[in-house]
Amino acid sequence: MELTLAHLYPQHMNLYGDRGNVLALQYRAVHRGWGFHVVDVDLGDAVDWKTVDLIFMGGGEDTHQARIYEDFLRRGPELQALLDEGVPMLAVCGAYQLLGHHYRTADGAVLQGLGYLDITTEAGPSRAIGDVVCETTLPVTPMTLVGFENHGGRTFLGPEGTPLGTVRVGKGNNGTDGSEGAVKNHTLGTYLHGSLLPKNPQVTDLLLQWAANRQTGGPTPLPPLDSTREMAAHDVIVKRSKIRHV
C-alpha cells in the first residue's frame, strides 16, 4: 500500500502543532509497512489530485488565513469533487471553519467558505481555550476523543450537519449545544488539536482505513499496530477529567 497525503498550506496554516497530525498518519502507515508520501500544497501550487489519497489542513493566524483564503476558494470545486468521492480529509480549526458556509467576523463582515460542511461560524465574545473530551459518532473504539481547543469562532450546525461528537469536557463548536466538530462522508472537521491524531490513534487508523479502502476499491485489512503509548497519552486527559471511557 502506498498512500499520498496532501498537506494544504503547511506554511500558513500550522498554528497549534498541526503537523503532529501529519506525523501521526505517517507513523501509523509506515509502521504497517506502507509507503507514505506527503505533498505540501502552497499558494498557487499545481496538484495532481488523482494521486491524492488523504487531505489535511490546519488552522492559522487571522492574517495568515487571509492570505490563503482566495487560493483555497479557487480550489473549491476540485476539492469538493474529491471529498464527494470519499477522499478522507481532516480539517482542524481554521480549516474546519473554511469548509463551512461562511464566517461572520466581529465587525460584521461575512467571509464565504467552501460550503461543503453544513456549518456557519461567527466570532464569539471570548476565546474557548482548554482541554476537550468528547464522545464521537465515528465508528471507532474508544469513542472518547481528547484534545485541546483554542478558538474565537462559534460554529453552528445546519439541518444537514452531523456533529463529530458530543462534548463532555470543554466548549466544542459553540459552548451551548454540546456539539463538537462536523462529519460528512469521510471529511472530519474539528476544533481539537493537541495534536489530535497522535493521542487518538483510533481516528488515525480510521482515516488510513478509509484511504486504503478507497484505493483498493473494497474492504482492506489494516495490519494490527500497538497503541499502548498513544492510549497512555490519551488517558492522561480522560483520567483528570474524571470521566470514563465509552
Binding site: Y16, Y27, T63, G130, N150, G194, R229, D235
Partner: protein, 460 residues
C-alpha cells in the same frame, strides 16, 4: 500618606509571606496597589536614571541577568526583578522591596523583565527610559490566542516610552525590527554570520515569514533559525535595519569569544553561554550597557565573570555527572536547545525531558509537535531518554513518533523519581541534558536543594 502606608504594608506582607514559606513574589505588590494604585508610578519616578523594561518571547531572563551584571560592573546600582515576577504585581513588589528601611527604592535604575501582556500597563506607569525587545515567537498561545496579540501589547507599551527614551531592538527579527520604524531613537543589534549554516531541510516554525509592513513573503539573504536572519521584502523593500551592534563571528560552544562590530570598530568579548540564541541575548545586553555608557573594557570584564541564570543552559555536577539544564517553553527555544546539544561533541548524551502543563508552562502541549526532533535525531548519537512531568506520556509519544527507539525511553511522571532513576542508570562521566518547562524547573531545583546539590545555583 497613602503612599507610605502602601509601601510599608506591602513590605510587611512580603516578610510575612516569606516567613511562612510562600515565596512572596507578588503579594506585596497586590497589597500595596490595593492601598495606593499609584504606588508603582511614584516608586519608579523616584529612580534617578529611571526604568528599563525588557520584553520578548525568549531570552528575557538571560538578557536581564547579563545586562544587570554589566551595568553593575560599571558602578551603577541596579534594581532587578526575580525570575517569574514579571507581571505588574511582581514589578511593583520589586520596586517596593528595593529598600528595607527607607520609603523610596535605593538604586540608580530598575531593569525589569516584563511579560509581554504586562507591557502596556508597566510602561504607562513607569514611563521607561528604554525598552528592550528580544524576539517574538509563538509561545503559550493558550493565553493570548495569537502571536499578533502579543506584538500589539508590546507596541502599546512603546507608546508610553519617555520623551527622549530609547528602543533597543533585535534587527534580525522582522516583527521586532518593525517596532522601530519611524521611531527617532532606536539602537539595533543583529548578526552577520557568513559561516553559519542553519539546519537545511529541517522543519522550522517561522512565525514571521511575511513582511510586517505589507504582508508579502520575506526574502532571506541569511536565516539563522526560525525567522531570525537578514531579510528583505521584495514587494515594499522593508528590510533588516543596519545594526548598530553586529555579531560578526560566533563559533558555538561555551568558550569561544564573540566577535562584535560596533559602528565600524571590531572587538572580541568572552562568552560563557552556549547556543546562538544566547549570543543574541548577550548582544541585547551589551547594547543596553553601551547605551548607559558602560565601557568596552568593563563589558569584557563583566562577561568574563558572568554565570548563567538558574536553569538557563547552566551546568552542574551531580555525583560526578555533568548535567546541563535548559528551560524549554516553545518550539523555537526548544529547537535552539536541541541544536546546542548537537554541538556538544560528547559521544554519550542522555536526556531528561520534563513537561508540565500548569498555567505557567502553557496548558496546551501541542507545541511539542512543532519541535524538530526528527532532524535533530539524525545526528544525535545513541543515548537514553527519560520523559517526565504531568505530560510525560505526550513527550514520550512525541519522541517515539520522531523515531526514538521506544525501548530507550523511560517514562516516570514524578520528576524527582525520574532524576533518581537517571542517576542510578547513567555512568560517571556521562553527560545529561535536562529540559524542563517552567514549573518543572522549579521542581528540579527543589530536588537538587533537598539533595544538597544547589551550592552552585543562584537566583536568575
Amino acid at each position: 500618606m497613602r503612599f507610605a502606608l502602601a509601601v510599608w504594608l506591602g513590605r510587611v506582607a512580603g516578610w510575612v509571606s516569606r516567613l511562612t514559606g510562600r515565596g512572596g513574589s507578588s503579594l506585596p505588590g497586590l497589597v500595596a496597589r490595593r492601598i495606593d494604585p499609584q504606588v508603582f508610578i511614584r516608586l519608579s519616578s523616584h529612580l534617578p536614571q529611571g526604568v528599563i523594561l525588557l520584553t520578548g518571547t525568549n531570552g528575557k531572563t538571560t538578557t536581564a541577568a547579563v545586562a544587570s551584571h554589566l551595568l553593575r560592573a560599571s558602578g551603577l546600582k541596579v534594581i532587578h526583578n526575580r525570575t517569574g515576577a514579571n507581571l505588574i504585581l511582581g514589578l511593583t513588589a520589586t520596586l517596593l522591596q528595593a529598600s528595607r528601611f527607607r520609603l523610596m527604592p535605593q538604586g540608580d535604575l530598575a531593569l525589569l523583565e516584563t511579560d509581554e501582556a504586562t507591557m502596556p500597563k508597566a510602561s504607562q506607569e513607569s514611563r521607561p527610559r528604554a525598552i528592550v525587545v528580544t524576539n517574538f515567537f509563538r509561545d503559550q498561545l493558550d493565553r493570548y490566542g495569537e502571536l499578533s496579540t502579543t506584538v500589539n501589547f508590546v507596541r502599546r507599551g512603546i507608546e508610553s516610552l519617555a520623551d527622549q527614551g530609547w528602543l533597543i531592538l533585535n534587527a534580525d527579527d522582522p516583527q521586532v525590527a518593525y517596532l522601530g520604524e519611524n521611531h527617532p531613537r532606536v539602537f539595533y543589534y543583529g548578526a552577520d554570520l557568513s559561516a553559519y549554516a542553519s539546519s537545511p531541510g529541517g522543519y522550522d516554525v517561522a512565525d514571521a515569514r511575511f513582511c510586517p509592513r505589507c504582508a508579502s513573503p520575506l526574502h532571506y539573504r541569511r536565516q539563522y533559525y526560525a525567522h531570525i536572519g537578514d531579510y528583505e521584502c521584495p514587494q515594499c523593500h522593508f528590510r533588516r535595519p543596519v545594526p548598530d551592534l553586529l555579531l560578526v563571528d560566533w563559533q558555538g560552544g561555551a568558550s569561544y569569544p564573540l566577535r562584535i562590530d560596533f559602528r565600524g570598530e571590531q572587538f572580541a568579548v568572552p562568552n560563557r553561554l552556549p547556543g546562538l540564541y544566547n549570543a543574541y541575548n548577550v548582544m541585547a545586553a551589551i547594547s543596553l550597557a553601551l547605551l548607559y555608557d558602560v565601557t568596552l573594557a568593563e563589558i569584557s570584564e563583566g562577561l568574563e565573570e558572568f554565570r548563567p541564570a538558574f536553569g538557563r543552559m547552566e551546568a552542574v555536577s551531580i555525583q560526578d555527572r555533568l548535567v546541563w539544564m535548559a528551560l524549554v517553553k516553545n518550539p523555537v527555544g526548544f529547537n535552539q536547545v536541541l541544536e546546542t546539544i548537537q554541538q556538544d561533541p560528547h559521544p554519550d548524551k542522555n536526556m531528561l525531558l520534563i513537561i508540565n502543563d500548569h498555567y505557567a508552562d502553557g496548558q496546551d502541549v501541542s507545541w511539542l509537535w512543532d519541535v524538530d526532533f526528527e532532524t535533530w535525531l539524525k545526528s544525535h548519537p545513541a543515548g537514553k531518554f527519560w520523559a517526565s512531568g504531568i505530560r510525560a506520556q505526550d513527550m514520550a509519544l512525541r519522541l517515539q513518533y520522531a523515531g526514538v527507539d521506544p525501548d530507550s525511553i523511560t517514562v516516570i511522571e514524578k520528576p524527582s523519581d525520574a532524576l533518581d532513576d537517571l542517576l542510578t542508570k547513567t555512568a560517571v562521566g556521562q553527560v545529561t541534558y535536562i529540559t524542563p518547562t517552567y514549573t518543572a524547573l522549579l521542581e528540579v531545583r527543589q530536588y537538587l536543594t533537598a539533595k544538597g546539590y544547589t551550592k552552585h545555583f543562584r537566583e536568575g
